[in-house]
């Protein structure tokens, strides 16, 4: 049976385009523009989902994106909201969270045992005996949750855009459109967003039996059309408010992050249900939901209904229902003073009686519980808030439209820090103190009458323009409606309950009363204990009633209860939208392509991609690395070190700067020489080390490891701000590539390429020269990090590959081989170099790594000196030692971070360990107690299996063991 009405003006559906789809295995059709729910409702389908806890049948509540009980899956996606998601051709839909289908859901039995599940029942049972808990937990976990996740759902990369505007208007109803027009007249950039598929807000559905709203909508849209500087965006919701007026606007396509000069919240209000027994049976819906069905989709909500109202809005709904040819059995008005008003009289003229001072006491379901059979109406005492059940009247009907009032859609206002107050005229929370640059207008501001909304929008626009510095006249303020638009207590108690406040979570009136009885009588505690407002609709239809009930229970005014905190998001927002395209920035060295061609396998070092080793066909990783090491020890190796930090310090105070920044002495350093640098923090902890090369009296070239380079440079800049020395700092990390040529034949490789002598006397260890290779200027540094005979070439980045090829060419006949970071780590270990970050942790001081030699305590000052003076007075707690396992050790190989154990207690740990083919022993560094750090001391390492492995403290000159 079709509930579709004849074509009407302004409807959203396109009747020329029929959409075929299925629901729960049955074929249906709707029109393009239908939501899933409207298409099903038009086809007479009323049980669209099951409730979360009791599995009660549910239909339409709001049609405003919080009908949480109508969530469906299309087999691909899940938790699809039927009330707002457009129906599409070929969809094969089913309700989520049912056991055996929405009609025959086996879990519906839970509804009949609901007395066993009081509020917070899961706190009260299942934990004793303890061993039974996992059993119950498993049942509860399976019962909870909504849809089933599809693990094959594709990763969808949604685009993100940034937009800037002078005024952002949120909400495209009468107020918002008026605000956009007023603001737009200034010529500034105005953006209006509205979550609905079409603009107009309530103008599009709340007609109250007249054409006034529809006409106003046409008029406002026409006026706005003349303003090209105003963008009107439908189908876009403002997902949250973030500082400095950043508002992510979400559409199906992605997120636009809007930065606004000022923001007008014309977000309207959510209609709130009155609470009475069985107010959830399919066919019972909010008045505005009935209007949406009628005017957006041209679908009858029911054919013979009752309007249950507690405000004037119900009469507008009644008029709209009558206009659509729907019979009304009665309008039941909770207010006793409603009987003689003009609204009742208007209805009487159309033959509809108003039963004032009364309530729907309960709704009776039809035989198969798919809809409404009748309602029982009784008198209602507004003072005691009791239904007077002595005279019951039963009205046959197939649906109920319910109107009790509104809750401001103030979510973003709260997020922005707006202080709200409860207004006893309009009977809702309204903004009291707005943050700078944010303005509220329309229903969210307590303004309801159409002309006033238009005025309030214009007023807010003028204020927004003033805020961003425009000289416009201020418009008169509009006061909240003095007539109550919401009922102070639209709650009908019933001994049998099932009078729902929160439809997401199946929370009834008694749950609140009982929660309060158990001490949860603070709104936040009540929220947490009852879970009101914690479902996917986040309390849009339930928080206000919860507050009213709690106020009543505690006997205090509503404003003393306050509201729960509002958090993003306004509507649940997909992870794919929020995550968008992932960005994983990384840095490539100028020799990356060269390395790649040579078969490099890359590893991440900080942000950099470095060659870990160079693949050799038929050779395993470990052997490949050992071969690279062997090349360096016996012939020559070449490594791309371009990721090293490189900083130039120049100026008359350059040496002084280094003296203050690092622990060592630099004023006395000779031009052309290199010295060790160690950086501490102010608490004396080792942060980084490196080398300082003096190129001129007033020019130092600093090189340091990869990971800390950016942070160290940043610290230099900060200290320079403090010290204000006569220096300049340049980070040349990206400007220079670096290549190390290491090994006994390294000098021979390079000697033909440069025009300076590489002899030990001319270029001793720890020295630097500026020279050229094939016309390319290079800085040639003699270092000893991976071998005694290592030359580091620093080359302008554009020529890096050229020089690399030259060096490779020169070394070809000599057996020069590229090596990566894996081999480098072993090589540096063999050389006895401890590395900050590997052989130190976040608390290591220089005394613990025997770095006294690097510390110029006689200097006037350096970073960390004062702390070292304090630390020096205290006993050292651990000492880093070099160690070796017994020659020929063939047992279980310990790993880095295995513990040093003495008499069953932790003494320290291994920080570096490797088998050195060069030496023929397992060598490493470890922390031990200072009293056990002397050369020749023995200690035990506990390997993974628990086996204790003997180790001996040796000199860090490991290569001296080489026999």
């Amino acid at each position: 049976m079709s509930a579709r009405l004849a074509r009407q003006k302004g409807e959203w559906v396109n009747r020329a385009s029929t959409i075929k789809f299925s629901f729960e295995g049955k074929e249906f059709s709707g029109f393009e523009g239908d939501s899933i729910t409207s298409a099903l409702w038009a086809s007479g389908e009323q049980v669209l989902g099951r409730s979360f806890k009791y599995h009660r049948p549910r239909g339409i509540l709001s049609l405003a994106n919080h009908d949480i009980n109508v969530m469906v899956t299309d087999g691909m996606d899940t938790n699809i909201r039927g009330d707002v998601v457009p129906v599409a051709a070929g969809m094969a839909l089913a309700a989520v969270n049912t056991d055996g289908g929405v009609k025959k859901d086996r879990s519906r039995l839970i509804d009949s045992i609901s007395p066993l599940l009081p509020v917070g029942f899961y706190y009260k049972a299942f934990h004793t005996p303890k061993k039974m808990f996992p059993f119950w937990e498993n049942i509860i976990r399976k019962a909870a949750g909504l849809g089933v996740v599809n693990f094959n759902y594709p990763r969808i990369l949604k685009r993100k855009l940034h937009a800037h505007c002078d005024v952002l208007v949120i909400g495209g109803g009468a107020t918002g459109l008026s605000a956009a027009y007023e603001a737009g007249k200034s010529g500034l950039r105005v953006v209006l967003v509205d979550e609905n598929a079409q603009l107009g807000g309530s103008l599009g559905f709340d007609w109250g039996g007249s054409q006034e709203s529809a006409n106003l909508l046409q008029e406002l849209l026409a006026k706005l059309e003349s303003l090209p500087n105003v963008s009107l965006i439908a189908g876009a919701y403002a997902a949250g408010y973030y500082p400095d007026h950043l508002i992510p606007v979400v559409t199906r396509e992605g997120i636009t992050k809007v930065r606004a000069g000022s923001v007008i919240m014309a977000s309207g209000a959510f209609e709130q249900p009155p609470v009475f027994r069985n107010n959830d049976i399919p066919g019972v819906m909010l008045g505005s939901a009935a209007q949406r069905l009628l005017h957006r989709y041209s679908v009858k909500p029911f054919s013979n209904g009752v309007v249950f109202t507690a405000n004037d809005y119900g009469y507008r709904v009644a008029q709209d229902l009558l206009e659509a040819g729907i019979k009304l059995a009665a309008v039941v008005d909770l207010r006793s003073d409603a009987k003689d008003g003009p609204l009742a009289a208007q209805l009487a003229r159309r033959g509809v009686k108003t039963i004032a001072g009364s309530c729907i006491y309960e709704v009776q379901a039809n035989a198969d519980k798919t809809g409404v059979k009748s309602v029982t109406v009784t008198e209602y005492d507004e003072k005691t808030n009791e239904a007077l059940t002595r005279d019951k009247v039963t009205l046959e009907c197939d649906g109920v439209a319910m109107c009790a009032g509104w809750a401001p859609a103030a979510n973003l206002l709260y997020q922005a820090g707006t202080a709200m107050r409860y207004d006893y005229g309009v009977h809702q929370f309204v903004p009291n103190r707005l943050p700078a640059g944010i303005f509220a207008a329309g229903r969210v501001n307590g303004v309801y009458e159409l002309a006033q909304k238009v005025q309030d929008g214009a007023r807010a626009a003028a204020q927004a323009l003033l805020h961003i510095g425009l000289d416009v006249p201020e418009l008169p303020s509009v006061q909240p409606s003095t007539r109550a638009q919401s009922h102070a207590y639209p709650i009908v108690p019933h001994p049998k309950g099932k009078n729902f406040v929160d439809f997401d979570e199946d929370i009834q009136v008694k749950d609140f009363i009982n929660a309060a009885k158990e001490g949860f009588d603070n709104i936040e505690l009540m929220k947490r204990f009852t879970t009101v407002g914690m479902g996917p609709s986040q309390g849009k239809h339930s928080n206000m009633n919860a507050i009213r009930i709690l106020a009543r229970v505690r006997g205090v005014p509503v404003e003393q209860i306050g509201t729960t905190t509002s958090r993003p998001f306004f509507h649940p927002t997909p992870i794919g939208h929020l995550g968008g395209r992932g960005f994983h920035p990384h840095r490539l060295t100028p020799l990356h392509d060269v390395n790649h061609k040579l078969g490099a396998v890359f590893t991440d070092v900080g942000a950099w991609k470095r060659a870990a080793y160079y693949k050799v066909a038929g050779l395993g990783v470990a052997d490949t690395v050992l071969a690279e090491v062997e090349a360096v020890r016996t012939k020559a190796g070449i490594i791309d070190s371009s990721s090293f930090g490189k900083i130039e310090v120049h100026g008359p105070d350059a040496a002084l700067f280094l003296e203050r920044f690092f622990t060592g002495n630099y004023i006395s350093q000779a031009v052309g020489s290199s010295r060790y640098t160690m950086l501490l923090d102010e608490s004396g902890v080792v942060v980084d080390d490196g080398l300082a090369h003096r190129l001129a009296e007033d020019l130092f070239y600093l090189s340091s490891g990869t990971s800390n380079a950016a942070a160290v440079y940043r610290e230099m800049q900060r200290w320079q701000q403090i010290w204000q020395l006569d220096i300049g700092l340049v980070n040349v990390t990206g400007a220079y590539a670096a290549i190390n040529v290491a090994g006994p034949l390294a000098r021979q490789v390079l000697s033909g390429l440069v025009n300076i002598s590489l002899d030990d006397s001319a270029l001793p260890a720890q020295s630097i020269r500026e020279t050229e290779i094939a016309g390319v200027p290079v800085r040639l540094i003699r270092v000893a990090f991976v071998s005694d005979s290592t030359y580091e070439l620093h080359i302008p980045t554009p020529q890096a590959a050229f020089v690399w090829e030259r060096v490779m060419g020169a070394g070809q006949a000599l057996g020069l081989k590229p090596f990566g970071t894996d081999a480098q780590r072993l090589l540096r270990l063999e050389m006895g170099h401890a590395m900050p970050g590997i052989d130190t942790d976040g608390l290591t001081n220089p005394y613990e790594i025997n770095a006294q030699h690097a510390i110029g305590m006689d200097k006037p000052d350096f970073i960390g000196k004062r702390s070292l003076q304090i630390i020096a007075k205290r006993p050292v707690k651990k000492t880093l030692v070099a160690f070796a396992l017994e020659a020929g050790y063939a047992g279980e190989m310990p790993f880095e971070c295995n513990l040093v154990i003495r008499q069953g207690e932790i003494e320290g740990r291994v920080t570096s360990i490797a088998y050195s083919g060069t030496i023929g022993r397992v060598i490493g560094f470890a922390y031990v107690a200072p009293e056990h750090s002397a050369l020749g001391s023995r200690f035990q390492i506990r390997a993974d299996s628990g086996a204790l492995v003997n180790a001996t403290v040796v000199s860090s000159q490991f290569l001296a063991m080489q026999k």
Binding site: Y123, R141, V149, F151, Y153, Y242, R528, P536, P572, L899
Partner: protein
């Protein structure tokens, strides 16, 4: 269905009674005043009464019970720390937690699910091994596992993390659990209340009266309370309370944010943490994914949300679970984390006689709730901190003897 629910079905009058009495006006004096009605403060009150017979105790809560970080954290309980002192301490906490539902007769949904700290880099693997070794030594079940074992426990996880950060292994921690955070506060509150402790909600501390270096009383929004012993257990408000006694500590407040998705049927059985991707996630018994990330990078004393946080977190969630593209985030929120430089708490006595500190809980406070309550109760009762919390004393900073938990705590909660 358990029989104990029958009474609710069969009673005409709802058989519930208040978890905690609604005290309005405090007495003129108490033996101990506890500032902060979160899990820690309430647990301390409970153990003071239960184990030390000190029941003349007032708990003062500015807002509502458990409304601070107790009710804002992502409810992970674990003990896989880095220092032996840390591991022993948190292990003691886990052991109390395991029996706490029964002890408090409130189902805390303490659910042992196993906890994987994923390692995507060699250096992360080193730290995992370090933690595993220390854990094993102390008798805590943690060990390094390879990709196969991770895949087996969580087959939905993209082991390559969308090719961005391949998982090399993980630290597996068998006792890793989640619990219902609110319940912990409510259970301790009820327990303390029944033993005679008085809990005052909506009661703000305005000042602490210190005379001659000793605590003499507390000024509150409900009047002056004389007492010689005050415990500050206020997490993100610690600097404000310390300011009242003129004391600086190393604590700096950084917001820590979290978010939650719509409910879905259970699929994620374990607790997963990735330091490299700055993600930790578990699925609650309600079916929501509860997700958190690293601290906000600068000091703010507020619980505002940022878009950056949720953008970064969800992007990394997609690296791990690409199929979540259309699963929706319902809500994000924040707590104020009281961070210390060494990522270990600050517990025990202070230079002011009678002023005790339970602070520096940063991002790891929930898991320590029972043991911190227990040890602080002992500290207050005996005016002497037990050995278990010696490493967490305030004076360690002056002594340059920090407790290096940084490697285990960053993102790993």
């Amino acid at each position: 269905m358990p029989l104990r629910l029958l009474k609710y079905a069969l009673s005409k009058n709802y058989p519930g009674t208040r978890f905690f009495k609604a005290h309005e006006t405090p007495k003129k004096s108490y033996d101990v005043v506890i500032i902060g009605g979160g899990g820690h403060g309430l647990a301390a009150a409970y153990y003071l009464a239960k184990e030390h017979g000190i029941t003349n105790v007032a708990v003062l809560e500015k807002g509502y019970i458990g409304g601070g970080n107790t009710g804002r954290n992502t409810t992970i309980v674990r003990s896989n720390y880095l220092t032996p002192e840390g591991v022993k301490f948190y292990d003691a906490s886990v052991k109390i937690y395991e029996d706490l539902s029964e002890e408090l007769d409130l189902n805390l949904f303490y659910s042992t699910r196993g906890h994987f700290t994923l390692a995507h880099t060699e250096s992360a693997m080193r730290t995992m091994r370090w933690r595993a070794e220390v854990n094993k030594h102390v008798g805590v079940e943690s060990y390094v596992v390879g990709p196969e074992e991770i895949s087996k426990a969580c087959p939905q996880l993209d082991m390559s993390c969308s090719g961005q950060a391949p998982i090399l292994g993980a630290l597996y921690h068998a006792p890793g659990s989640v619990a219902r955070h609110d319940g912990v506060a409510w259970g301790y509150a009820r327990g303390a209340d029944r033993l005679g402790v008085e809990i005052f909600q909506n009661t703000e501390v305005l000042g602490i009266d210190v005379q001659g270096g000793k605590v003499a009383g507390v000024k509150t929004s409900k009047g002056y309370i004389a007492t010689t012993k005050v415990l500050s257990a206020v997490a993100g408000f610690t600097p404000r309370i310390c300011e009242m006694v003129g004391m600086d500590t190393p604590i700096v407040i950084h917001p820590l944010q979290a978010c939650v998705t719509e409910p879905m049927k259970p699929w994620l059985d374990t607790i997963l943490v990735s330091g490299s991707l700055h993600v930790y996630v578990s699925q609650s018994s309600r079916g929501e994914l509860v997700m958190g990330s690293s601290l906000d990078p600068y000091e703010v004393h507020s619980t505002r949300s940022t878009l950056d946080f949720v953008e970064g977190l969800t992007s990394h969630m997609l690296d791990m679970f690409p199929f979540l593209s259309n699963i929706k985030v319902v809500r994000q929120w924040a707590g104020m984390a009281d961070m210390t430089p060494d990522f270990a708490p600050i517990m025990g006595k202070t230079p002011i006689e009678g002023f005790y500190l339970d602070a520096g809980w940063g991002t790891w406070g929930f898991k320590a709730t029972p043991i911190s309550g227990k040890t602080m109760a002992e500290t207050i009762a005996r005016d002497h901190a037990p050995d278990l919390i010696h490493s967490f004393r305030l004076s360690r900073f002056e002594d340059y003897e920090l407790t290096g938990e940084k490697g285990a705590a960053s993102v790993g909660h």
